[in-house]
Symmetry: C2
Subunit: 151 residues, 2 copies
């Protein structure tokens, strides 16, 4: 009986399409974000701040699934770009308060066209996109809950 190693084939794994797809989508965002001087990850940070308001670095890290090793320098760059300000919280000087600047808030209006542009680049009917999004959100939800159970 020949050995086919089915479980190692790319087509039969989730890891590769997820990896490749994520990279492709990030690539699509590069150009439209360029004019705003934002990287993809910085853009996600801005989305979070717009939606949930100012918060500490740690809270931000939880939402975006990033540690301070990545977030700390990234936030410094966002501050340099003028979109956020970094300051210690008065009540607890360990915490770093991340606040939107006036420019950061104003960006929200200017950048609205971007998701629309990207949407046009992803070659799948809307119903498939909705399904895909739902499945991915489901995985994230369950993974988040799993982590909390361990605590």
């Amino acid at each position: 009986m020949p050995e086919t190693y089915e479980e190692l084939k790319l087509e039969n794994q989730l890891c590769f399409p997820l990896y490749a797809c994520a990279k492709e989508v990030v690539r699509q965002y590069r150009k439209p974000l360029e004019e705003f001087n934002l990287t993809y990850t910085q853009y996600i940070v801005m989305l979070i701040l717009w939606e949930y308001g100012d918060m500490s670095e740690g809270q931000l890290g939880e939402k975006i699934h990033l540690e301070s090793g990545t977030l700390a320098p990234l936030l410094k760059r966002l501050e340099k770009s003028g979109y956020i300000s970094r300051s210690r919280e008065k009540n607890n000087e360990r915490r770093l308060a991340i606040s939107l600047t006036k420019e950061g808030l104003a960006l929200k209006e200017k950048i609205r066209q971007v998701p629309e542009k990207i949407h046009g680049c992803i070659p799948l009917p809307d119903e498939d996109l909705i399904l895909l999004r739902a499945l991915l959100n489901k995985v994230l939800d369950k993974m988040n809950n799993k982590e909390k159970e361990i605590d």
Copy 2:
């Protein structure tokens, strides 16, 4: 009429769950791959070589969606680990031939348990996983074809 910026909410976008999910999955792979001295991307390279056989750096790059800027140093590290060898093709010295070593081939047998382990970490019923995989592969397929149309 209040402005809700629906199109900028995380839940309504594909980009964020895709980004976060991909990161989480890569994270799951880190530990099981550690004992083989492989990173996630190196693991994908090995999967490609096992499935399709030896090829040039450029061909590999097409399959994994990576440029030489990433691939060149990564392949040097894989060579250092003993899993592949790098040599110029006789017929065309511009091309870098990537071949599996004996250790690289042997690894295939040892590593078979890994996908199984990961599968257990992704908290979704099998039918959802199959659907998710199919949707992601569909996006990749269409994006690949789109690129080719441009040429």
